[in-house]
């Protein structure tokens, strides 16, 4: 890598979260790393078992992941739920989820050191920007809105 670009505006990208209850409150939880909950009111910081807080590191896979588009995040959701696209006929409908296992798709602010690829990013710091619940009702949306202080839209 020869040079870095220096910017002051966070990147806003797309990702998925599980929504799971921790003690008495529902929290966002990383989609592919289970039981890693996102803090409310403070940034989520990347941490790597090899590189510690130096994550993300070039040549490794550490960091906070996000996609460039909503479509790419929805593709991951379809793969996760096992709903395949028919050849030549992309299935645009998102699949139903297991009862009681809500998922959030949404935009996320990224900043700090970021490694950008063709379809997305690995970032040092992140915080949710706006959430759309899949399998979550008004009550859960209100709870997450109050906790993370961002817009949350129910299913």
């Amino acid at each position: 890598m020869s040079s870095s670009a220096f910017l002051t505006e966070p990147i806003v990208a797309w990702r998925l979260w599980h929504v799971r209850r921790h003690d008495d409150v529902h929290r966002l939880e990383s989609f592919t790393w289970h039981h890693v909950s996102w803090p409310a009111g403070t940034r989520f910081e990347a941490e790597c078992s090899t590189h510690g807080v130096a994550a993300p590191v070039e040549g490794h896979e550490c960091g906070i992941y996000a996609f460039k588009t909503r479509e790419l995040a929805e593709d991951l959701l379809r793969r996760y739920t096992g709903v395949r696209q028919h050849y030549g006929r992309p299935n645009q409908e998102l699949p139903p989820l297991r009862q009681g296992c809500p998922i959030a798709i949404g935009r996320v602010s990224l900043w700090g050191r970021i490694l950008a690829r063709e379809n997305g990013f690995r970032a040092q710091y992140a915080y949710p920007y706006e959430l759309f619940l899949i399998g979550g009702e008004d009550t859960l949306a209100r709870e997450l809105r109050g906790l993370y202080a961002v817009d949350v839209w129910p299913s």
Binding site: M1, S3, S4, A5, F6, L7, T8, E9, P10, I11, R15, F31, T32, A40, G41, T42, R43, E58, G59, Y65, A66, F67, L76, S109, L110, W111, G112, R113, I114, L115, A116, R117, E118, N119, G120, F121, R122, Y125, Y127, Y129, G146, Y148, A149, V150
Partner: protein, 39 residues
């Protein structure tokens, strides 16, 4: 999460003037125990 081929990777450094972390919503105001008495 497949964000693309590693050989497409390039580094960006973002240092926002203010971190994009919203302040928590203020707690609802409590009702006064007594009606204010006009002076």
């Amino acid at each position: 999460m497949d964000i693309g081929a590693p050989d497409t990777e390039h580094e960006i450094e973002i240092a926002p003037l203010d971190e994009p972390v919203p302040a928590p919503a203020p707690a609802p105001a409590k009702e006064p125990a007594q009606e204010p008495i006009p002076a």
